[in-house]
């Protein structure tokens, strides 16, 4: 997990307000407000974010309260505690992570045949047989629901071996 973050927010530092940039950020302290980044945000175990987050890639090991959108992926590690909605084409919830909110990986309908097989395969060594889109698929018949919070937790459960 090599980190080439140019921006580091140390453990005792609080940054409040609007933050923008085009580089990776390693967070050990706190962020409040909003963060828009062309780059990866890593939230360390002891770090806390109370903000709307828009990034390329998000790794959460600490606390995140707020909605997060990633153009690439979102990964919640075992120590993560997250309250908010997550939107990304690829979302990983690892065992131990605590999460409340919605998960949106896009509409399976839009890319019906092509996308689902292609998506879950790479970078998912833990649970290749249970791709995350599944819970969404089970609720599909009921019109076009956004996955309910309960689904998100099913998602987390599904990761257990």
């Amino acid at each position: 997990m090599a980190s080439k973050a140019a921006t580091v927010i140390a453990a005792g530092t609080v940054v409040a307000g609007r933050i923008e940039g085009a580089e990776d950020v390693d967070l050990f302290g706190r962020i409040q407000g909003s963060l828009t980044l062309k780059g990866a945000l890593k939230i360390d175990e002891k770090a806390r974010v109370d903000a709307e987050v828009q990034v390329t890639r998000l790794e959460v090991r600490g606390i995140l309260v707020g909605n997060a959108t990633a153009t690439d992926s979102i990964e919640l590690f075992g120590s993560a505690r997250v309250v908010g909605d997550l939107v990304a084409p690829r979302i990983v919830v690892r065992e131990g992570a605590r999460f409340r909110g919605l998960i949106d990986m896009g509409d399976p309908e839009d890319e019906d045949e092509s996308a689902p097989p292609a998506r879950p395969a790479p970078r998912r060594p833990a649970a290749p047989s249970r791709p995350a889109p599944r819970p969404a698929a089970t609720t599909r018949p009921a019109a076009r629901p956004r996955p309910a919070p309960a689904d998100a937790e099913d998602d987390a459960d599904a990761e257990e071996p």
Binding site: A6, V8, A10, V14, G17, I19, V25, F28
Partner: protein, 106 residues
């Protein structure tokens, strides 16, 4: 140990506070209040009122600065604002506009 770094592509509009030193390479607007040293590097632009133990200005600073130990404006530094600090250094080549108050007992 580790200090906070605001990288050169970053823009922070708000407040930065903390107990570690802070290195600014990008842009900060608003307020900075830290109990350690602040380094404003060449590439940086800071438009903020600043409170820190010490402040080193190599970039551009607009705002009032209060430092408990010292303020240094380096040769490449450009600064507009009032400075309160017991020790102040202004290097040859530095640009500064504002008042200086070294009579700070705190």
């Amino acid at each position: 140990m580790a200090s906070t770094v605001i990288g050169s592509s970053m823009t922070v509009d708000g407040e930065i506070s903390g107990a570690e030193s802070l290195v600014v390479q990008g842009q900060v607007k608003g307020r900075i209040g830290i109990s350690e040293n602040l380094y404003v590097e060449n590439s940086a632009t800071v438009e903020a009122d600043i409170e820190a133990a010490s402040v080193e200005v190599g970039g551009e600073v607009t705002g009032n600065v209060t430092a408990s130990t010292r303020v240094e404006i380096k040769a490449e530094g450009r600064m507009v604002g009032d400075v309160r600090s017991p020790r102040i250094l202004i290097a040859d080549g530095a640009l500064f506009k504002g008042s200086i108050d070294m009579d700070v007992e705190r």
